[in-house]
Structure formats: C-alpha cells, structure tokens
Subunit: 204 residues, 2 copies
C-alpha cells in the first residue's frame, strides 16, 4: 500500500512536470490530455485518474508552482523587512519572486491568467485562498511598518494589501499584453507613488 | 447605393443588439452565430458578412457600448472637475460610469473581461487605444488638479493614471469573481488611500 501511494505521487508529479513543459512549449491550445500522456509515457486514462480534464491539469500545475514560489517569497520578504526595515523593499521582494516565476514561463503565465482569473470551483477557492494568504502577509508587513513609524497610525493595512494586488495584477497584465517589458519596475513605481502619498494638504 | 449603406448599418446594429441580449441571457457558450442570426431574423451568412466569428461579434458589441459609455463618462468627469474642483470626485465619476455599465450586464461583462483581456489584433489594438484615451484623460484631470494645488507639483500624472487603472481593474475583477458586492466603493477606498498618501516622513 505504501509503495502504491509513493508510485501514485511520483506518477502525478511526472504528469504535472510534462504538462508544464508542454504548456510552455506548445501553448494551452496545443496541449492535450493525450499529448501529455504520450510524453509522460503513461496511458491517457492514467492522466484522467489524477486530473479531471486539461484545465484541471493546468490549474494543478500552476497551483503547485505558485505554492513553492510563495513559500520562498514569504521568507525573502520577511528577511528584507527585518534587515532593511523598509516596507517598500519587502513588498518589492515579494512581487519580484512572482514576476521572476512568470518570466521563466511566459506562455504558461498567459494561460494561467486567462484560465484562472475566471476559474470555477474548486480551483477558484484554492486560488482565492492563496491570494488571501499573501494578502494577510502584506497586511502583516504593513502592520510592522506602522509600529516602526514607517506608516501613519491610521493607515488601513488591509486596504494597503488590496492596493499591492492592484499594482501587481496591473503590471502583470501590462507585461503579458506586451505593454511593459519590465513589470517589476512598473510595479515599483506604482507602489512608491502609493506609499509616498500625493496630497499636500494632508496633516502630518 | 446610399440606401444599401443605410440598410447595411441597420442590419449590423440589429445583429449587435441581438448578440448583446443573447450574451447576457445565455452566456458566451450559449450564444452562437446561428442563434443570433435566428433571433435577428437574418441568414447566418449575413452575420458572417459583418463579423468574422462569435468572438469578433462579442468584441464589436462591447466596443461600441464602451465607446458610448466613455463619451458620457468623459463629459461627466469634466463637469465634476469644473464644478466641484476635486480630482477624487472626477475620477470616481469616471469609474462609476463604467461600473454602472457592467452592473447592467454582468454576464456580458464576465465574457468581456475573459475574452478581451487577451484579445488578438485588431481588437487588442482597438481596446488598447480606448484605454489609452481614458488614461490621457485621467492624466489631464490630474494635471488640472496639480495647477490648482490639489496635487504636489512633482506628481507623475501618467503614473497616477496607471494607478487609476490598477484600482479600476482590481475592483472590477473582485466584483466579477463575487468578492465585492460594491466595486465602486472598493475603488473609491483604494483611490482615496492613494491620493491621501501614507508616508508620514514625506516633506510637505
């Protein structure tokens, strides 16, 4: 039984890795359950034991990758925060980890955004939970910045987290549509304007 | 000749109106060239004389509507700016016009975002030109706010325009995904935080 579970996990991992490779190389439309099965050297029925359909396979492939990216990004952003003590640096480090991931797999990223922005359950819930975790982390970093006096005491940190995602998605979309070659720089400029503040009349 | 051109335009308009109705009622997958032709009382071939395929029809239906919405929104936001003299009010009025349009056609809006975010040429260029026009308008409103002393003299108005779109798209996506019942309120809160500024150390 133990061996069978191990084998099953190994097969699942091999299918996912093959799917990632094909999606990046051949695009979403050029990838099929059959082509993935062929290259992973398993029967199409085996792929369908693990994944309901092609979209399920795409979501699983990306979700796993994003989990790994997020675990690394969380660590890096926390270190930046402790060492440099700047919210801007911490948030930039967080965004950079994700942008770096997408830059390595532009075709896969395009498919991800297109398919996952309007994913159906259960994937919509899983992606939403992932976003909620990152959002909570951003709010936590902002809270720490507040207690250091880096932000006004009345700043809504949850709202700041939403602004972080606004800039992150906008830079990502602009990059995927070919409008901006450097999404991180664009993100950084937007974030800086947000953190700097614009209204001269505000009491300080 | 004149009558034929008139007739052609009237047929095109009737096809578009029927398409909008069907897309809203039956969704993107439930709409076809054939079903639109049937309800508009024209041959399927006639629809295909005007539109290449279903996606072309969707894009044309939305593009025309957005043009109308935008013309109205531009006027309202300019009036707000002249009368109330507040950039925040003007930008909120601008966003409200679009959110109101989407709220009237939620299913169509969902299809729009899904299909048009990654539209191929020529639609990608047309949508990009539309966004560029709105962006220029936002920058112009921000420039006027600057000369009235409502914004710091060194504020990058083009970047402020990008922030406007970041919040607009994020609120729109959150609404379409069921995360926020009131996209305009969410947009307003994000915009206010951006305009208020967050960093207490900034020299004033």
């Amino acid at each position: 039984m133990f061996i069978r579970t191990e084998q099953k996990a190994a097969t699942r991992a091999r299918i996912l890795e093959t799917a990632r490779k094909q999606l990046e190389r051949d695009g979403y439309d050029g990838t099929s359950i059959r082509s993935v099965a062929g290259e992973a050297k398993v029967a199409a029925g085996t792929v369908l034991l693990h994944f309901r359909d092609k979209q399920d396979l795409l979501h699983a492939a990306l979700f796993d990758d994003l989990e790994t990216t997020w675990a690394r990004a969380r660590e890096v952003s926390e270190k930046k925060m402790q060492k440099k003590g700047s919210l801007e640096r911490a948030l930039t480090a967080l965004a950079r980890a994700f942008f770096d991931y997408y830059a390595e797999r532009p075709a896969l990223s395009r498919a991800l955004l297109r398919e996952s922005l309007f994913a159906a359950p259960p994937w919509s819930q899983r992606f939403a939970a992932q976003v909620a975790e990152v959002h909570a982390h951003v709010a936590q970093l902002a809270g720490a910045a507040k207690s250091r006096g880096e932000l006004e005491a009345d700043v809504d940190v949850a709202l700041l987290g939403a602004a972080f995602f606004s800039f992150y998605y906008f830079a990502l979309m602009a990059w995927l549509q070919g409008g901006h070659a450097h999404p991180l720089q664009f993100f950084e400029r937007l974030l800086r304007q947000h953190l700097d503040g614009l209204a001269p009349r505000r009491k300080r």
